[in-house]
Amino acid sequence: MTADADRRIPTVGHFSLWGLGQSEIGMAALTFIVLGLLPIFVSGYSIYILPQYMLFGVMAMSLGLLWGFVGILSFGQAGFFALGAYTMGLAMQLDLGVNPAYIGMLLSLVVGGTLAAVAGYFLFSAGVRATYFVLVTLALSIMVEQIAVSQSEITGGWNGMFIDRMSLTFGALGEISLYDDAPAYYAVLPVVVVTYALLRYLASARFGKVLVGIRENEDRLTALGYNVSVYKTGAFALSGAIACFAGALYGTHASFVAPSLGGVLFSTEVVVWVAIGGRNSLLGALMGGILVSALSNYVSTITPEYWQLVLGFIFIFVIVFFKGGVAGAVAQLPRLWQSRI
């Protein structure tokens, strides 16, 4: 009996956390190389728009961290994303002698991380149920949207806010304007790679293992003396900071932010991307964010209503039959193949 129960402890190494097992790193490297070489072969609109999809992918990874590692679902990631964009917009209006974009980037990390930490600890320390947490995060994203609408003196209300493209300054060494699409592309790509690497590292570190433990058996982790609410809060704070940071970069890249960026619909679109891409795999989340948003944008120009409908049905299909999403299905392929032999 006890031996049986013990065997059920997740061994992080081969468990679904990696999604694709060890081969995920290889696939991720391949993906990043392809993304890195893409501007050589393609130009124009694709190179302009891809960084925005990549930032959506970063936001998707921030959800993947929560949903895949800890098993907490947030319907409020776009709220943080929009918050970051507005933070960047406001910071760009400052004149402090320092590059305002740097201040905006720093502020977005602080703002997103702090807000998520406060909200997270407030809820987790009381042991609020996972389903209630979803509702609260849904309310958070509605609140971001409502505040953006109602505080129109600051945010521009429904009309939105225009934000300049940022430039990278290196003190006396000069500066690189990100006004053109190719430099902007190569500024965003490293952010994606670094975020992915950071989250991968965290997954293999103690922190990630404890998070997975919480997902699998919260009571046991509590009994073992882990302060579960602190770990959950840490994960949510990190996730909020990442989403907010990605939002800040998105704001300056898209040069515009409107309240709907933080709204319920966009927030839940993120959930759909991650569910389809694979909630237990960071690469799955990232690719879900990039590909599904790109595909949505592309197909929407042809048939807006039917695409959303199809997406909704795919979402149902994934939840009912393919919990692991595309990444989970791909990860199972070798095992299926082996069992045939």
């Binding site: 679902l73 009381a126 309310a139 509605i142 409502q146 109602s150 209503e305 959303q308 149902i316």
Partner: protein, 284 residues
């Protein structure tokens, strides 16, 4: 004095309207434990069916009845195809009902278009109460909300069906051992909840501009109504929760913009959810 009276009247009306809007959710969430994120879509569908029926010449009351039954049937189909397989997994039902919302919203957009639709007010005019005037239809909807809650109380405590439902909520296993067909009861309760939401959507439609996302406005508020009032406390809970959410919104709206008042109320509701997860009526 006059502001005081008008605030009280406003708060009462909003409480009853919210109670009506949240009632379908209170049934589905409180009785069968499904976190129904599709509640907003049920409301929207009810409003559109009412609009479609009235524009093709059906009298308003009949149109609302059609809407309630129509949404009830849609809920029944959804339950039968998907939800019934997931009652044991609340998190999956949350996602699935949200997916239902996405799909239903798109179907509504395809069938009815995305323009604002208006349902003509079936009862124009106002009731003069001396100090304040209440729009007659709003007053009527409030009364219907009250009647709905009262009627449910009757069904709940005075009929065989009520006993069965209470048995189901109290102890599912024992109820099924005693010969209650659990699967059928769940189906019935889910359909009744959908029906109530459709009815609410239909009744609310003359008071709003109908667009494919009107249900969203009520979704989170309905959830807070149910949680603040206490999940499973169908009658008192719904009224207390609605009074809390609607009443405080009216109060805050006196000092700030409506939108901002809603934000403050959401914050308050989150605080309550943290300290009283079982609702303000219960200790724990």
């Amino acid at each position: 004095m006059e502001t005081a009276i008008s605030v009280v009247v406003d708060a009462t009306l909003i409480t009853l309207v919210l109670a009506l809007a949240a009632f379908g959710l209170a049934i589905i969430y409180g009785l069968v434990g499904v976190i129904n994120m599709g509640h907003g879509a049920f409301l929207t569908l009810g409003a559109y069916l009412t609009w479609a029926a009235t524009t093709s010449g059906v009298p308003f009351i009949l149109a609302v009845a059609i809407a309630a039954i129509g949404v009830g049937i849609v809920g029944l189909i959804f339950e039968h195809l998907i939800i019934r397989h997931f009652y044991d997994k609340p998190f999956d039902t949350l996602l699935l009902t949200w997916a239902f919302f996405l799909v239903m919203t798109e179907i509504i957009k395809i069938v009815f278009g995305t323009d604002f639709r208006n349902v003509a007010n079936p009862l124009p005019g106002a009731i003069d109460l001396g100090a304040v005037k209440i729009p007659a239809y709003r007053g009527l909807v409030g009364l219907i909300g009250l009647a709905l809650v009262g009627g449910t109380a009757f069904v709940f405590y005075r009929t065989t069906l009520g006993i069965k439902i209470r048995a189901l909520v109290q102890n599912r296993e024992v109820a099924s051992l005693l010969g209650l067909n659990i699967a059928r009861m769940y189906k019935l309760v889910f359909a009744i909840g959908a029906c109530a939401a459709g009815l609410a959507g239909g009744l609310l439609s003359p008071m709003l501009s109908v667009d494919p996302y009107i249900g969203n406005v009520f979704l989170v508020r309905s959830f807070f109504v149910v949680i603040v009032g206490g999940v499973g406390q169908l009658l008192g809970g719904t009224l207390v929760g609605s009074f809390f959410i609607g009443g405080s919104e009216t109060l805050f709206a006196l000092f700030s913009k409506q939108v901002f008042a809603q934000t403050v109320v959401f914050l308050l509701a989150i605080v309550i959810l943290r300290f009283r997860p079982a609702g303000i009526l219960r200790q724990k």
